[in-house]
């Protein structure tokens, strides 16, 4: 990604950044958007938090992303946070997670009419329209069963790296059903399986099936059909996607599960995109008349 002029005409070449602060990872997207000619992704960067100081991780990840984008922080017209973005002290505004994931999803996969975002602690299914509007949603809360953290625990327990989970799962021959997907108690289940000599792929696949069942249920609950884009950290898990596709086929549902190489960054991308949108709206307003309502709107939507 190379760019010639750093400061093009500010009005139509806009650099914006989205920072998605999750509970396990920070993701940053830096974009350059031109009014007419579309949007260019300058940098995507993510870092696991891994028990480190969060503000430090945010700062570092952001600056690495800016480096990669070849931008300075002054060049960024709008820094949009999402997720637990309150911690981004230098943000311009904040957008809610579902709003950004929906936007990021339509950017990555224009045909997507539903999004399933699975992160470290939560899962949420959204039905969206082509303008990224969230039409309905369901989310898990209060219980981390079946979440990314759960999978992480399991994989740690099985001694496989997260990155390997997907591939292993797809090698399974006789997946073993798991009964509990409590992020903590499932360990015991897995112990049982290990001690019964069940292979790692079969265990992982069983877990993926159980998760897939849960997620498909969430998706069905929001009444989605058509193309579903997986976003969030678990979108990188090809085993989960596979299990979901199988479930879709088995239940003969009118869904098509897709992932995208940058799915993990959907929230950050969406935030950066909304940032650009807001920046233009606000500039337009600033150049016409200013009313209290407008700043308030900025406030209400933003922080």
């Amino acid at each position: 990604m190379s760019f010639e002029a750093k400061n093009g005409s500010a009005a139509d070449r806009l650099t914006t950044a989205g920072i998605d602060v999750g509970s396990s990872a920070v993701k940053v997207a830096v974009l350059r958007s031109a009014n007419e000619s579309g949007t260019e992704v300058l940098a995507l960067r993510g870092d696991r938090i891994r028990r480190r100081d969060l503000t430090r991780v945010i700062d570092e990840t952001y600056s690495v992303a800016l480096d990669e984008a070849g931008a300075r922080s002054d060049d960024v017209a709008y820094v949009a946070s999402t997720g637990e973005g309150e911690l981004v002290s230098f943000r311009t505004g904040h957008f809610y997670g579902m709003t950004t994931h929906a936007r990021g999803a339509t950017f990555l996969e224009p045909e997507a009419r539903a999004v399933l975002d699975v992160g470290a602690l939560h899962a949420r299914a959204m039905r969206i329209d082509e303008r990224s509007k969230v039409l309905s949603y369901r989310m898990t809360s209060q219980c981390a069963s079946g979440s990314g953290q759960f999978l992480e625990n399991i994989s740690r327990y099985l001694g496989v790296a997260l990155e390997e989970v997907g591939e292993l799962s797809r090698e399974a021959r006789r997946p073993e059903t798991v009964s509990s997907i409590c992020a903590v108690l499932a360990e015991t289940d897995v112990i049982n399986m290990v001690s019964r000599g069940i292979s790692t792929p079969d265990i992982l696949k069983g877990i993926h099936q159980s998760m897939a069942g849960r997620y498909i249920k969430l998706l069905r609950a929001v009444g989605c059909d058509g193309v579903v884009l997986l976003t969030g950290g678990l979108a990188a898990d090809s085993g989960l996607a596979q299990a979901m596709r199988e479930k879709v086929q088995e239940d003969e549902l009118a869904m098509e599960i897709r992932t995208h190489g940058s799915s993990v960054f959907a929230g950050a991308l969406g935030a950066a995109l909304w940032g650009a949108f807001r920046h233009r709206v606000l500039e337009r307003r600033a150049s016409t008349s200013r009313t209290t309502g407008d700043t308030e709107q900025m406030e209400a939507l933003g922080s």
């Binding site: 009964s179 509990s180 249920k217 069905r220 609950a221 009444g223």
Partner: protein, 428 residues
């Protein structure tokens, strides 16, 4: 349990099976034959009254529990949740609505007819009210509402009875008349009530046979079969009365032969524990659940669940001489319409009457009517009887809430505890 039982047993089982499938067939034919179909609930059902109008009752709760036993409920429940029903609420409702959304195919595989009327005789639970409000929206049909006052202070007051009778006269009967186009026939009702009373006598006889040692019946897992006909469409019918006569004869034979109860794996050889159980069973894993008991030689000698559709062993019988008043009393006397202190009294009485070694509560997630207060019941009963109480949790028809390992662990621990107490002899 058709695969196991000796011949006598098989007879009443077969009879019951026939009756039930016959009823579903009749329901399926109802529209063609010009019969009216009324949906109603088990607790506080007015079967004799409906039968006196030649109405066929359909009971959504029974359909739901059947779906649970046939492992269909999970799918139905998700279907309902997909339509916006909360995860938190009673799974009978969701199972029913899910079944409806999936084509309303009944337990025997035949399609159920739409209701001509919803008879909301709502005894012992508020969910019933919402359930039929929901069904009304689905079917857009009339509802007859019968409000049964709760025995808040453990009593049935005269003005409660009067209120129920007035509602029968001004709300229920007129709506039944309107739906069927017939006039209310008090004599038919009386005749039917007399048949009820006879069946009730026999049922009580069967339930009380558990006082024998060994008990010839399991009054919970077996009990749910025994109450089937009288709690559903057959109270006040010739068929129903005949079934209970036959059942009574069978039990007499078991007693005479000194036999224990029949389980899905044959007759129980040794009775090691006698238990009283409070709370409904789990239907999705009914067999597995039962097995956890009979494998350890535990027999249930009395249960409260078998009183939800009528509490007969405390003396109440349908009375042909006071047709409306007796219906009112019946409704108000169903188990879940009793106040909590009265429920504690009843269980305590069972523990004593049936010489039980302990009591166990199966608390189901679905049912606030049953479940709220059960932990206090447990405490009170332990204090009053000095016997160990057990507590397990499951659900009626939601397979997600049956954790076999957990329940087994608890039951085993509980039974070992009774055993340990017994072998150690009386306290030093």
């Amino acid at each position: 349990m058709p695969d196991v039982a000796p011949s006598q047993k098989e007879q009443s089982m077969l009879l019951q099976k026939e009756m039930i499938s016959g009823h579903y067939d009749a329901l399926a034919r109802a529209k063609d034959e010009g019969k009216k179909v009324v949906y109603t609930f088990v607790p506080g059902n007015l079967t004799e009254l409906m039968r006196s109008f030649d109405i066929l009752p359909n009971l959504p709760e029974i359909n739901a529990l059947q779906s649970g036993m046939r492992k269909l409920s999970g799918g139905y429940i998700s279907e309902a949740e997909k339509h916006g029903h909360s995860e938190d609420v009673c799974t009978y409702v969701k199972c029913d609505i899910g079944m409806l959304k999936k084509g309303n195919i009944g337990p025997t595989g035949v399609k159920l007819p739409e209701p001509d009327l919803l008879l909301l005789s709502y005894t012992g639970c508020f969910t019933f009210m919402k359930w039929f409000e929901l069904l009304r929206q689905e079917y857009d049909c009339p509802v007859a509402m019968l409000h049964i006052p709760y025995q808040g202070d453990g009593k049935v007051h005269d003005h409660y009875r009067g209120y129920v009778i007035e509602q029968l006269e001004t709300e229920v009967i007129p709506k039944l008349e309107a739906v069927t186009g017939r006039a209310f026939d008090q004599d038919r009702l009386r005749a039917s009530l007399a048949l009820s009373a006879a069946a009730e006598d026999d049922l009580v006889y069967v339930l009380e046979s558990a006082r024998h040692r060994p008990s010839p019946i399991d009054a919970y897992f077996g009990g749910v079969y025994y109450i089937g006909p009288i709690f559903s469409a057959f109270r006040g019918t010739e068929e129903g009365a005949a079934y209970y006569r036959a059942l009574r004869r069978e039990i007499d034979q078991r007693v005479a032969a000194g036999q224990g109860p029949v389980t899905p794996e044959g007759e129980l050889e040794t009775e090691r524990f006698r238990l009283v159980i409070e709370g409904p069973p789990n239907w999705t894993s009914f067999r597995e659940f039962w097995k956890m008991f009979y494998d350890e030689g535990a027999v249930v000698v009395a249960s409260t669940y078998t009183k939800v559709g009528g509490l007969y062993d405390r003396g109440f019988r349908h009375d042909p001489d006071n047709p409306l008043a007796t219906l009112a009393d019946y409704c108000m006397g169903c188990y879940t319409n009793l106040s909590l202190p009265a429920r504690v009294d009843l269980v305590e009485q069972y523990v004593r009457d049936y010489a039980a070694d302990g009591f166990l509560i199966n608390s189901v997630k679905s049912c606030n009517s049953f479940s709220v207060g059960q932990l206090l019941m447990l405490r009170q009963l332990e204090d009053r009887t000095g016997l160990p109480g057990g507590f397990i949790e499951s659900d009626l028809v939601d397979p997600r809430y049956f954790s076999a390992a957990n329940i087994k662990n608890r039951i085993e621990s509980y039974l070992q505890m009774i055993e340990q107490k017994r072998t150690a002899g009386p306290a030093a």
